[in-house]
């Protein structure tokens, strides 16, 4: 499958931007999307967390397909668990652990979520710290 066929199989309303194609979904859909991406031969690239207004977090998962960026975005409530895609993409393991370290996002469906950049026992959410605030 190419990027266009993959978008059609996944469905939804994709928006074209200069950097690639973007789709907004509910977080529980991400596992099904990841499986479709793998079957299509897409390479997992990154997870980006962005604190939004209020108590929500915008999470985006990014794949590459022949140079085309396919990005899937979901708004999640603070503290709400997000399905893990590690069973489908082992390469997402570090991305999920880092997201947990930086923004305290909990990924469910994994055996464990060990710290990646932080040490055992460190409080997750290090990028949420304010200037001068101790970890």
């Amino acid at each position: 499958m190419n990027a266009e066929e993959t978008r059609q199989v996944i469905g939804g309303i994709w928006t074209e931007r200069p950097d690639g194609w973007w789709l907004s979904v509910h977080a529980p859909m991400i596992q099904r999307i990841a499986r479709t991406m793998l079957e299509a031969g897409a390479r997992f690239s990154a997870i980006v967390a962005l604190p939004s207004s209020g108590d929500t977090m915008r999470l985006s998962w990014h794949w590459d397909m022949g140079g085309v960026l396919l990005s899937v975005v979901s708004e999640i409530a603070e503290g709400a668990p997000v399905p893990s895609i590690v069973d489908t993409y082992p390469g997402a393991d570090w991305a999920e652990r880092e997201t947990r370290d930086y923004y305290a996002v909990a990924f469910e469906g994994r055996a464990d979520t060990l710290p990646l950049m932080l040490r055992d026992g460190d409080k997750p959410g290090v990028l949420l710290c304010k200037v001068g605030e101790k970890l």
């Binding site: 931007r17 200069p18 950097d19 690639g20 793998l38 031969g41 390479r43 997992f44 690239s45 990154a46 980006v48 962005l50 604190p51 985006s60 990014h62 590459d64 022949g66 140079g67 085309v68 960026l69 990005s71 993409y89 082992p90 390469g91 997402a92 393991d93 570090w94 991305a95 930086y102 710290p115 990646l116 950049m117 932080l118 040490r119 290090v126 990028l127 710290c129 200037v131």
Partner: protein, 358 residues
């Protein structure tokens, strides 16, 4: 009986702090686990608390080898948000810097790999070659590591002596084609250490999301310079070397062939360098918005995401380096191999722990 050998985080065989715990049965590796984060500097947090002009210098320090690609990616992401047009001459200078950086990175790796293989004469010859690239980078920028070439909207300096840069590229191409590649592909010592060692299958390469030469050595025909051209890469001719065996030798060959292609790109860019400005003027902020930019760094795709609220300080700066994508695949590569091959296999990924940890 199985036993576990911890290597690192501080070990004579490692050039940066990193830990691999290897589970063995006899001399055979049956499993491994990797630990990083020993160089964590919180660069993303810092970039979200400094203005974008300060952050150019900060992001250039993500990596001590491919420093230029980070400041360039940071600037290009802001340029995409602000719809800032970089003058053609500035784009061409960025390409020369990017390819010189790829040359020195690949030659550095080839030298270190030669030493690990036990071929010290080759190490010395490769480092002699690399030194000419470092001298060229210094002649252009005044610096050997952090070049400070990039600014939002272009570059800070022109290339003073294009003829000299062209001569260096031609010399490296000739030596690589005439001596380096034949040696790397036929020498018995190199073949004995590299062939069939540390295999990453194409399927595993996709599942682990590896990038750059590691992906291309496992049969993935991918290169952002060709697949999603940026700067003026769409206007130059170059091949994308791909190997299918997925072993250490394939990674060696891919990088050696890429040295030749980088030289060809530099020669073409210097020949077609347009006249005009090298930057778009003084720019200290960009409008509100967000964007992703991906660049083909020496080790593979660099991923930058920036969100701006219109002020001079970004709301979010996300950096995913190629080593972050490639290092986890070491676990798949070492499984079933001899313990003695672990240092070479992990080195064949060309890992940068400083980048990974940021």
């Amino acid at each position: 009986m199985s036993y576990r050998i911890p290597i690192g985080p501080y070990h004579i065989a490692l050039e940066e702090p990193y830990k691999i715990e290897v589970d063995c049965e006899g001399e055979t590796v049956v499993g491994s686990s990797l630990k990083v984060g020993f160089n964590f500097r919180g660069i993303e947090w810092l970039a979200q608390h400094k203005n974008i002009t300060q952050s150019i210098a900060l992001l250039e320090r993500v990596c001590g080898i491919c420093s230029n690609v980070h400041s360039m990616s940071f600037c290009m992401t802001l340029e995409r948000i602000g719809q800032i047009e970089v003058p053609q001459r500035g784009q061409h200078i960025r390409m020369v810097m990017a390819e010189l950086e790829r040359l020195h990175s690949h030659l550095l790796w080839a030298g270190i790999a030669s030493e690990l293989i036990g071929f010290e004469t080759l190490f010395m010859q490769i480092f002699r070659l690399r030194e000419s690239v470092m001298d060229t980078l210094e002649a252009i920028s005044g610096n050997r590591v952090n070049y400070s070439m990039n600014r939002i909207g272009g570059v800070n300096r022109d290339i003073p002596d294009r003829g000299k840069v062209r001569d260096v590229a031609r010399d490296i191409r000739n030596v690589t084609e005439g001596a380096l590649i034949p040696l790397l592909t036929t020498d018995k010592t190199i073949l004995a250490r590299c062939q069939g060692v540390g295999v990453l299958t194409r399927t595993d390469a996709i599942a682990y999301g590896v990038v750059g030469p590691v992906a291309r050595a496992s049969g993935l025909d991918t290169d952002l310079r060709r697949d999603k051209p940026y700067l003026a890469y769409g206007d130059v001719k170059f091949a994308v070397p791909v190997q299918t065996a997925g072993d250490v030798l394939s990674r060696v060959v891919v990088r050696a062939l890429e040295i030749v292609e980088s030289c060809k790109i530099i020669e073409q860019v210097l020949d077609r360098m347009p006249e005009g400005a090298i930057h778009a003027g003084e720019i200290y902020s960009v409008p509100a918005g967000d964007a992703v930019v991906r660049i083909e760094a020496p080790r593979g795709e660099v991923f930058y995401y920036i969100a701006s609220d219109g002020s001079d300080t970004p709301v979010r700066v996300k950096v995913r380096t190629p080593s972050f994508a490639n290092i986890p695949a070491v676990s798949a590569m070492v499984k079933g191999c001899d313990l003695a091959d672990v240092p070479l296999i992990q080195a064949a990924v060309d890992p940068c722990y400083s980048c990974t940890d940021r």
